[in-house]
């Protein structure tokens, strides 16, 4: 067993991290929030140039293979940078199209243009029920059981607690034109979206912790750095511990997603033999743990920063707000807990009760 990221993996994550650090993602996020997609699209093209979406698509469909671990590592960095846009959804859709069980080139024009970074698409599922960036994306999809349909966003865009997420109601079963399902693997889509949302949450949590530690060392009150107060220290230590132990679950979840059957992509993961310790429960476990750790990090960041952490203009609050939005996206805590106790299977419609009274 070697349950550690290998050299390639770490190199790739570092590349993504550097790219994002140089690209002023907070500015892109604020522009995106204001409806200006320019900087966000540019960022996505740069990410696509690193091969990001290609890591979700088999070679015979124009991609590089099936690399959930490396994708998760990249989305930790995307979360750390608070990069805007439906990136999780776009990559997850690419994975679904690439894994079209019917094979061949039936997926329409989207896949090649996602791989080049020209398209951003969104997708939701009945548990959503909102699609993120429904009007800004180039296409919208909705899953229904094992099937995938196109969708038309309905109604006005709704503001989110995360201003970079423009929500649109997007009920299932609104296929355009023919109503024919889009050929794609919806199960793979949901799994990858859950994994990458967890990764993004973990990255947001890391950024919140780092920013809070930095601020606590800088800010003085009562004649001393606030980070020298034991109450502040212990809150930050608690967050550090929560993030530290969420991370191995994320890695485990990536292996579980890699090993998932069904897609045509080369399952480089384990053969599921007797010596295999991958566990499908790691996916909901990772989503719950990463979301929770990020949420704790956000609450603590607010407490450490005081009123500053409650303001729109402070960059760290981009992460703070995203943490709450990601908490419920692609698997609420309750749905994840149910899935853990059901051997890894998510309830049929996540959060069905939420769809109305």
């Amino acid at each position: 067993m070697r349950f550690l990221p290998d050299e390639d993996h770490r190199t790739y994550a570092a590349t993504v991290r550097r790219l994002l650090a140089d690209a002023e993602p907070a500015k892109a996020a604020r522009a995106w929030a204001a409806g200006d997609q320019g900087p966000g699209r540019e960022l996505w093209r740069a990410l696509a140039d690193t091969g990001l979406p290609a890591l979700a698509v088999p070679e015979e469909r124009g991609g590089m293979g099936w690399y959930p671990s490396e994708l998760a590592a990249a989305f930790v960095e995307i979360g750390r940078a608070a990069a805007p846009g439906p990136l999780v959804e776009t990559v997850a859709l690419a994975a679904a199209l690439g894994a079209d069980p019917r094979g061949g080139d039936t997926a329409g024009p989207w896949l090649p243009r996602i791989l080049t970074g020209d398209l951003l698409v969104t997708v939701t599922d009945p548990a959503g029920p909102y699609a993120v960036d429904g009007y800004l994306a180039d296409a919208a999809f909705v899953t229904e059981g094992p099937a995938l349909h196109m969708a038309v966003p309905e109604g006005g865009p709704l503001p989110s607690i995360d201003p970079t997420r423009h929500l649109v109601r997007c009920e299932p079963a609104t296929p355009v034109e023919s109503g024919e399902p889009v050929p794609g693997d919806a199960a793979r889509l949901r799994s990858l979206a859950t994994l990458l949302t967890a990764a993004q949450a973990l990255g947001a949590g890391r950024a919140l912790l780092d920013g809070s530690v930095e601020y606590a060392g800088r800010r003085t009150q009562f004649g001393r750095q606030i980070g020298s107060f034991q109450a502040v220290k212990h809150q930050l230590a608690t967050v550090a511990i929560a993030l530290e132990f969420a991370e191995p679950l994320l890695h485990g979840a990536a292996l579980a997603v890699r090993a998932q059957p069904g897609g045509p992509g080369p399952a480089e993961g384990s053969a599921g033999g007797p010596g295999d310790a991958t566990d499908p429960r790691d996916l909901p476990a990772a989503k719950a743990a990463c979301s929770r750790a990020a949420h704790q990090a956000a609450r603590t960041a607010l407490q450490v920063h005081g009123a500053l952490g409650y303001t729109d203009e402070y960059d760290l609050t981009l992460h703070l707000r995203k943490a709450r939005a990601l908490h419920d996206a692609w698997g609420t805590p309750a749905a994840c807990h149910q899935a853990v106790l059901a051997g890894g299977r998510f309830p049929a419609v996540q959060g069905e009760a939420a769809s109305g009274e």
């Binding site: 004649g223 009123a307 409650y310 609050t317 703070l320 419920d328 309750a334 807990h337």
Partner: protein
């Protein structure tokens, strides 16, 4: 010991309920943190005032109805149960007015209170500075003596996190009048207009982007002597009586939480009573009820007290912190620091209650969905998030409880 309202308390409740039923707007007003919403909420203050409900616990002379603390609790219960609008005047009514009752003079009371009661003047608070948040005693903004315009003070410096200041008329805060003195000595409590020459207001957006507070840049802003509250150099004492109030029941009345807890139970029922939320829903109700009963106990301990001056009516003893802060425990010790316990208790309850609601609403509704029924929960959650931070962080409140209530050694 009983939990029975007197006939007059009962009649008071019935009157309040009937009035609210007739007057509360059918549709929620726009957010009071917007220009449009601010104006709408100012109008609502006028409606309240005309009905005699804007400042129930004040003396009639200033627009109130001399309500007891128990009656004030009743009014607040009815107010929040009726889902009436938020109070745009709350800085003035809850923070400034108690200080005026305790430390102001007759002229100030007569001049300041009626337009505060009617919504004609909306007040912002101006406590924090960039280097003085929790550590309020370290503030640097100064007031320098001038004999111009009949004598007064020139304010200079910077204030921040000034809530309501984006749209309000006037503000109050502490300024250093004696630069030789350190920390909480040499501070004075002043009121000043936000449209005066020398004032620059830079709105700051809170988490939802709305300008719920502002930075104030002050450059030689003139304040006449008549707008100093209490004695020059004694502002800290006056401010502390306000701070005690801010943490106590009067800023976050029990009625706010009992109404929210009832709505939470309603939400839980409407979602088919999911058993995995049962403990959290019940716990929210239990804590809201505990806070309500603690309020009744505090009111019972101080039956003559009005909510306005936290027990100190105009001309009262001035020991307003001590009397405002009578222990919430019905059997308990009358601790002057009970307001610190209150503040920790309600602020953590408020967040837990709203988090539970958001979890019940499920995905998609962790989003602000204005115009949808869920939006109230999201707005309430954002509002609640500030609770453990402002009016003295909960860390400081726990220090106070540990050191002054429990008598543990002072920290280092």
């Amino acid at each position: 010991m009983d939990l029975e309202f007197t006939a007059s308390e009962h009649a008071f409740r019935e009157e309040a309920r009937a009035w609210l039923a007739a007057h509360v707007p059918a549709r929620p007003l726009p957010s009071l943190e917007t220009a449009e919403g601010f104006a709408a909420h100012r109008e609502w203050e006028r409606v309240l005032y005309d009905g005699g409900w804007s400042v129930v616990s004040w003396p009639r002379a200033y627009g109130g109805r001399d309500a007891t603390l128990t009656e004030w609790l009743i009014f607040e219960e009815e107010y929040y149960a009726a889902q009436a609008p938020g109070r745009v005047s709350q800085n003035g009514i809850n923070l400034l007015a108690p200080t005026l009752f305790a430390h102001g003079d007759e002229e100030q009371l007569a001049r300041v209170l009626p337009p505060m009661a009617s919504g004609e003047t909306i007040w912002a608070q101006a406590w924090s500075e960039p280097e003085a948040g929790s550590d309020l005693a370290s503030l640097r903004s100064r007031a320098e003596r001038t004999e111009r315009h009949g004598g007064g003070w020139l304010l200079s410096g910077q204030k921040t996190w000034s809530s309501r200041a984006a749209f309000a008329d006037r503000a109050f805060g502490l300024f250093r009048t004696d630069r030789e003195q350190e920390r909480h000595r040499g501070l004075s409590y002043l009121m000043f207009p936000l449209d005066a020459e020398g004032v620059t207001v830079r709105p700051i957006g809170r988490l939802d982007g709305k300008p719920a507070f502002a930075e104030l840049f002050l450059d030689q802003v003139f304040v006449p002597d008549a707008d100093v509250i209490g004695e020059v150099g004694q502002g800290w004492r006056a401010a502390m009586s306000t701070a005690g109030n801010e943490r106590g029941v009067t800023l976050r009345s029990p009625g706010r939480f009992t109404a929210s807890a009832d709505r939470l139970i309603h939400l839980w029922r409407s979602r088919q009573e999911p058993a995995d939320s049962r403990d959290r829903v019940a716990d929210a109700w239990i804590r809201a009820r505990a806070y309500q009963l603690a309020g009744y106990a505090a009111a019972s301990a101080d039956p003559a007290g009005s909510a306005s001056g936290s027990g100190s009516r105009p001309g009262g003893s001035g020991t307003s912190v001590a009397s405002a802060d009578s222990s919430p425990g019905a059997g308990g010790t009358a601790s002057p620091f009970a307001s610190s316990m209150n503040k920790v208790f309600w602020s953590e309850l408020d967040i837990d209650l709203h988090e539970t609601a958001l979890d019940l609403l499920g995905p998609g509704t962790s989003e602000v969905t204005e115009g949808l029924p869920e939006s109230a929960w999201m707005d309430g959650w954002i509002f609640a998030l500030a609770g453990p931070v402002y009016a003295g962080t909960n860390e400081i409140q726990r220090d106070i409880v540990a050191e002054r209530v429990l008598g543990l050694p002072r920290g280092r």
